[in-house]
Structure formats: structure tokens, C-alpha cells
Symmetry: C2
Subunit: 226 residues, 2 copies
């Protein structure tokens, strides 16, 4: 390893209150978008910035286990949409009868409407057989990949690009359509496109499907329920 004396922290960047507020405004104005996508193609420079933000996410043992598969081909997106529809029909049947029509009325994806899809995958073999930080929790590589998704989401929002995360698939359907090898897991299928309008709170709350909890109800002191 390098000489430790050459390897030291330096003065940390300090953020002003205005800069902090910009971050909070992005975080609180981020939405899971299903229907507000405009058809305009995404500016390549903006897409590059968004992907760089994703790639700057923390990763266990610096393994950077993610890949970003950019999908624009309408025929391929139509196949993905069919895979969604098959799974979503099954999903609807899982809900109690009194919620099924409400469920069916929700639009849960923008696969064909949004001009760009990004499949974010996790290579379970990246970094070798023993990865620092993954020795006792094998899922840490999946968690790293989700950190990249959240960075991507916030960066997209700041660029005026809405994003929706679609999770209602049989994973193998997506793997087949994208030719993913066995050792690669689909973590997120994302739909991206410019947006002019967004819900001012989570759409599932606005539509009465679910309610939001207060922060106070999820903070505990020292131990569970403490």
C-alpha cells in the first residue's frame, strides 16, 4: 500500500445554507413518475452528468458492482412492457377483492411513454470472491447499487428529468430481453423523460392508495421502540 504519510485527508468542502437548501429542494421535489413524461430525447450532456452522479455512489469495498443499460429501442421497450403487463395482471389478483379495481386504475409504469429506460444491474461477482464489507452481509452489493439508483434519481430531478422505478416483473423476463448473464441481478428498471408537471406529493398518497407516516413515528432512541 502507498506510504500512509502520502495518504491523508484534506480540508473538506463546506456547503452554504443556500447550497444545502438546493439539495433539500431536490430531495423533497423528487417524485416516482409514471405518466408525466414528455417524448423529447434526453440531452446527451445531461444524461452523462446523471450517470456520473450514479457512478459516484458509495460501493462496498469500492466494488462498483453496477451497470447501466440504456434502452431506447421501441421494440425492446414493447417487450419489457409486455413482461410488466403479465406480472401486473398477476399482482392485481393478489390484492383483496375490495382493492382490485383501485389497483387496476393506477398507472404504474411509463415504459413506452418515457423515451429512455435504464436497467440498473448488479454483478454479484464484481470485486472477486471476498469483497471488503461484504463478508458478513452478502447483499451489500445490491445495496450499493440502490445507492447509485438514488443518486441517479436526484440528479435526473435536478436536470428536469422525471424518473419512475418499475418493479413489477418476473426478473427472468427482463434478464431474457436484455441478455443478462446468470450472475447479474436486475436491481431497478427505470423510465426517464423530461417533465413539466409533477404531483406535489407522492402520487399514491394523492390518489388515496396509501398514507404517509410522520417522521416522528419512525425515529427511536437507543433501542427498538426506545
Amino acid at each position: 500500500m502507498p506510504n500512509p504519510s502520502l495518504c491523508a485527508p484534506s480540508r473538506a468542502r463546506v456547503f452554504t445554507e443556500t447550497e444545502r437548501q438546493s439539495l433539500y429542494d431536490v430531495i423533497f421535489n423528487r417524485r416516482d413518475v409514471r405518466n408525466e413524461f414528455k417524448p423529447d430525447p434526453i440531452d446527451p450532456a445531461a444524461l452523462d452528468r446523471v450517470l456520473r452522479a450514479a457512478h459516484a455512489a458509495p460501493s462496498v469495498g469500492l466494488s462498483q458492482p453496477w451497470n447501466f443499460i440504456l434502452i431506447r429501442d421501441p421494440a425492446r421497450r414493447a417487450r419489457i412492457k409486455r413482461a410488466f403487463t403479465r406480472a401486473n395482471d398477476e399482482a392485481a389478483a393478489m390484492f383483496p377483492e375490495n382493492r382490485r379495481s383501485d389497483y387496476a386504475a393506477l398507472k404504474l409504469e411509463g415504459i413506452e411513454k418515457a423515451p429512455l429506460s435504464i436497467c440498473v444491474t448488479c454483478d454479484r461477482t464484481r470485486g472477486g470472491k471476498v469483497v471488503l464489507g461484504r463478508t458478513h452481509n452478502q447483499d451489500m452489493d445490491l445495496y450499493s447499487t440502490v445507492c447509485a439508483v438514488q443518486n441517479l434519481w436526484l440528479a435526473a430531478r435536478a436536470e428536469g428529468i422525471g424518473m419512475g422505478w418499475v418493479s413489477i416483473f418476473h426478473e427472468q423476463d427482463v434478464k431474457d430481453i436484455l441478455n443478462l448473464p446468470e450472475h447479474v441481478t436486475v436491481v431497478a428498471y427505470l423510465c426517464l423523460g423530461y417533465v413539466d408537471a409533477l404531483f406535489d406529493r407522492p402520487e399514491l398518497a394523492a390518489r388515496g392508495w396509501a398514507t404517509e407516516d410522520d417522521l416522528a413515528s419512525v425515529v427511536m432512541q437507543e433501542t427498538w421502540a426506545g
Copy 2:
């Protein structure tokens, strides 16, 4: 459900280039901190903002499956530290012999040095038996919780608070120390404290343990390796 005509998106917040740059500066200056923590207690108003940012993360079916357990008691943190040490000794032995002394030389946690720990958990039963968006991927609640961790991390950084994610534990040890019920999973054990100095790139890269990949090596077109 409410009348759909009362339930519509409104004009989306537009971010300026300066505001975007603030977000990118936070993202690129975020570090996994192990040793730079100062002992000063965290300002309660800053902690509240950071937790609100975490709680504003996306969650599958708006289930908000996370809890944030704030741990300050030195005796409890000492027990957590012992659980880490037990696991870390096992971890060291998993690496090839030629990497073991390098591994042992790395400081991988700030459990006792940082004044605040936050255990971020996921309640696997939150939202009921069938959760929208979790019907085909049962891990989506864990992924939602990781999105909250990443929001928390970025908000902390913007507040001048460093954060480190410790993952080298037997989960049951942490569950025992924090009295977590069976149905609650430990997603992240986080150490937080103010920082003046940080590494200017990932510490594992600065120390020669791992190398960073270029963005280009992880972006693909249309299909795997496409």
C-alpha cells in the same frame, strides 16, 4: 379513491444550473468516513433536517418501511464495537494471505469515535401482506430503505456531517443489542459526526486497496455488453 379530476400534477419546480451544481458537489464530495469524526454533538436542528431528507426517500407502495434508531450511549456503542471486532477478525481470515496485513491495517468503522450512530432498519411486515410494487420482488422494501440511507448520507454531507456505513457484523449481534424484533432487518449501521477534513477520493482508492472504474466501462446500450 378521490375524484381523479381533483388529483392532478402541478407545475414542476425547475432547478437552475447553480442549484444543480450544488447537488453534484454534494454527491461528488460525499465520502465513507471512518476516522475524521470530531466529538462535537450534532446540532438537533441539523439532525432533524437530515432525518427528514431520509424520510422523504421513495418507498415501494409508499410503505416507508424504515426506522431510524439513534444510538448515543457509549456503553451501547462499545457493545456494537465488540460485535464489529468479532466479525472483522473473521473477515480478515477470509482474504488471501497476501492481503491480510493490508486488510488489518485499514480502519473500517468509527463506532466509538463518532458521537452518533443511526441504525436504519426495514420492517418486512410494513404495509401489510401485499404491498404494491413488492409483489414480484420481495426485496423492494430493503431497496427503499437503502434509498433513505443515501438521502441521509447526502443531507449529512451538506450539513458538514461525515458518515460511515459499517456492514461487518453478524446481523443477530446487532439485533440483540438493539432489541430488534424478528421481522425487522438491519439494513445499515451508520456512524455520524462533524468533519473538517475528508479524503478527496474514496479512501480505499487513496490507500491502494481498490481502484475505481471509469463510467464508460459500466454503461451498455440496449442489452448486456451491447
